[in-house]
């Protein structure tokens, strides 16, 4: 059984890390972008961002004043039990979110959509979001926090099979240019694309592709991986850079995730994670051990399975 006090303490540390420490994979990607950038203003912006990451770590202050909308992705092994059960888990994550908002401090971004009520702690109706995933084996829990910005850089469109790859490219470019102008998307960013599913799951896939896959990762389908590379290059050929200034870096990496959809449709979503790609991950074990990392490793073969049975489970059942 996973001790609940370790979960809460770890969640607090993750909130802090996500807000302050730029993940290594993204930092490496941005350093590469800074080396290749030749636009005067875009280049200045990227250098300033690299200095900013350093300042944030040195001072232990948030990288960006807009600390985004904290949310949680939780994954568990099939044998995992949590002390106090799922309600205790959700309470612990809500407490950690509220405490870190005051402690780091973070910006209390979350308000009621109509009454604009602000609890000053990033907690409220449906906030923070907590989403779940499961894996076949083991007794462990992965706590992943993502603090994505909440206003610009994301869009959805219902495309159809007749739109083809040409239509997908069009909507991709439309999204990058529309939100890239004046730098509203805070590019260069990790771009996540969701293809298929339903409208809601398509959005979820794209967001997870942006926030839960690291720079340099590839979709296991080689043809989709080739599209990811092509789309990264396409985005960087627009001629737009940081803040919408003339430049050659819009996309630090492009990640595509797919889900089976209606036979008549081809849903598409585009999500831009920002220059402060805030994510932090830890695995907690039943003996109280905690391992921190920055790769959520969300999209495992199990998460992308296509078949009715999971081969591992079928084999266990047969034995």
């Amino acid at each position: 059984m996973i001790p609940i006090d370790v979960i809460e303490k770890t969640a607090g540390t993750l909130m802090d890390k996500a807000a302050i420490e730029i993940p290594d994979d993204y930092l490496t990607g941005l350093q590469h972008a800074a080396e290749t950038e030749d636009g005067d203003l875009s280049s200045f912006v990227l250098q300033a961002m690299l200095e900013n990451y350093k300042a944030a770590k040195e001072d232990r202050r948030a990288m960006c004043g807009d600390t985004g909308c904290p949310r949680w992705y939780v994954k568990m092994g099939n044998e995992t039990q949590i002390e106090g059960g799922p309600v205790a888990l959700e309470s612990a994550l809500r407490r950690a979110t509220a405490q870190a908002t005051d402690g780091v401090p973070l910006r209390p971004n979350r308000v009621h959509p109509l009454w604009r009520t602000d609890h000053n702690n990033n907690v409220g109706i449906g906030a923070p979001e907590i989403e779940y995933g499961y894996e076949p084996g083991g007794e462990w829990i992965d706590l992943i926090t993502v603090h994505k910005g909440g206003l610009f850089g994301t869009d959805y469109r219902m495309l159809f099979p007749s739109d083809g790859i040409e239509g997908i490219k069009r909507f991709y470019l439309d999204s990058l240019v529309a939100f890239g102008k004046r730098g509203l998307a805070c590019q260069p960013a990790i771009i996540g694309i969701g293809l298929g599913g339903s409208k809601d799951t398509c959005m979820v896939l794209g967001k997870r592709a942006a926030c839960l896959r690291v720079v340099g990762s590839e979709n296991p389908d080689p043809k989709i991986a080739a599209l990811e590379r092509e789309f990264k290059d396409l985005g960087n050929s627009i001629g737009m850079g940081a803040m919408g200034f003339v430049g050659k870096n819009m996309v630090v990496d492009c990640n595509i995730e797919v889900g089976y959809c209606h036979t008549g449709g081809m849903q598409m979503s585009v999500h831009a994670f920002c220059l402060s790609s805030r994510r932090a991950v830890a695995r907690v074990y039943a003996d109280g051990r905690v391992e921190y990392r920055t790769d959520p490793d969300w999209f495992t073969p199990y998460q992308r399975r296509e078949t009715v049975e999971w081969p591992g489970s079928a084999q266990e059942a047969a034995e």
């Binding site: 807000a19 005067d40 203003l41 280049s43 200045f44 912006v45 300033a48 961002m49 200095e51 900013n52 990451y53 300042a55 944030a56 001072d59 202050r61 948030a62 990288m63 960006c64 004043g65 807009d66 600390t67 908002t101 780091v104 401090p105 973070l106 910006r107 209390p108 971004n109 308000v111 009520t117 602000d118 000053n120 206003l151 610009f152 469109r157 495309l159 159809f160 739109d163 040409e166 239509g167 490219k169 069009r170 470019l173 240019v177 529309a178 102008k181 004046r182 730098g183 509203l184 805070c186 396409l234 627009i238 001629g239 940081a242 803040m243 919408g244 200034f245 003339v246 220059l275 402060s276």
Partner: protein, 223 residues
């Protein structure tokens, strides 16, 4: 590649100092600035509440910002990072605000349109400074000497309250409009749009249109 000019500027700048600034200059600020966005604008302009500062005497610098900050139990302020929020959403209130408060520096994210600049920035002798990134929250946080006050925090909450910040070499900011109303972002967009037809080659418009959709790639989107 040329390196942009770096300039120190007061938050109560003289007209001469503003006239010196060119699009793309990098600015660092000294003096008092205050945050004001939709919450403050609504309260001051629509509800006619008395603005709790002497403007522009104390400050002529309006920052479109909500800080990542907390108020400690002893009443002191802990301000970590500060970055701007997108300004175009405040065009509705800005003309009246600038007239009422004499703001000369509007600081935010993404700028306004050249139409906004020409219509009410130029007559008010004001320019727009954009934050960099976005956002260099930690670097800007280092430029805060002191939080002087937080007005209307009970009425508006921490994110929308009017934070009064004493800053010392706070920056970097980029000059995004000048006293003639020229717009840095539109200048850049005009260069980028020349390349877009080539980039869009090999794509096709969606089978199902969106009502009101445009294919005008020079569309500034905001405003």
């Amino acid at each position: 590649m040329t390196k942009p000019r770096e300039i120190r500027l007061s938050t109560t700048p003289t007209p001469e100092a503003l006239a010196e600034l060119r699009l793309g200059d990098i600015v660092y600020l000294d003096g008092l600035l205050y945050t004001a966005r939709e919450g403050v604008y609504k309260r001051a302009l629509e509800e006619q509440a008395n603005i709790p500062m002497e403007l522009p005497g104390e400050s002529a610098a309006n920052f479109h910002c909500s800080p990542a900050a907390a108020i400690r139990s002893d009443g002191s302020f802990d301000m970590g990072a500060v970055t701007a929020t997108a300004s175009f959403r405040f065009a509705k209130w800005l003309p009246e605000w600038m007239e009422k408060t004499g703001a000369r520096l509007i600081i935010g994210k993404g700028g306004m349109s050249s139409k906004d600049y020409k219509e009410y920035f130029v007559p008010n002798g004001a320019i727009y400074l954009s934050t960099v990134g976005y956002g260099t929250g930690a670097l800007l946080g280092r430029g805060i000497e002191k939080v002087e006050a937080v007005h209307w925090r009970d009425e508006l909450g921490l994110a929308q309250a009017m934070w009064v910040i004493r800053c010392k070499k706070m920056g970097p900011f980029i000059v995004a409009s000048d006293l003639d109303g020229n717009c840095l972002f539109e200048r850049e967009n005009a260069k980028i749009v020349q390349n877009l037809d080539r980039v869009y080659e090999g794509t096709r418009p969606a089978t199902l249109k969106r009502y009101g959709e445009t294919d005008d790639r020079s569309d500034e989107v905001i405003g």
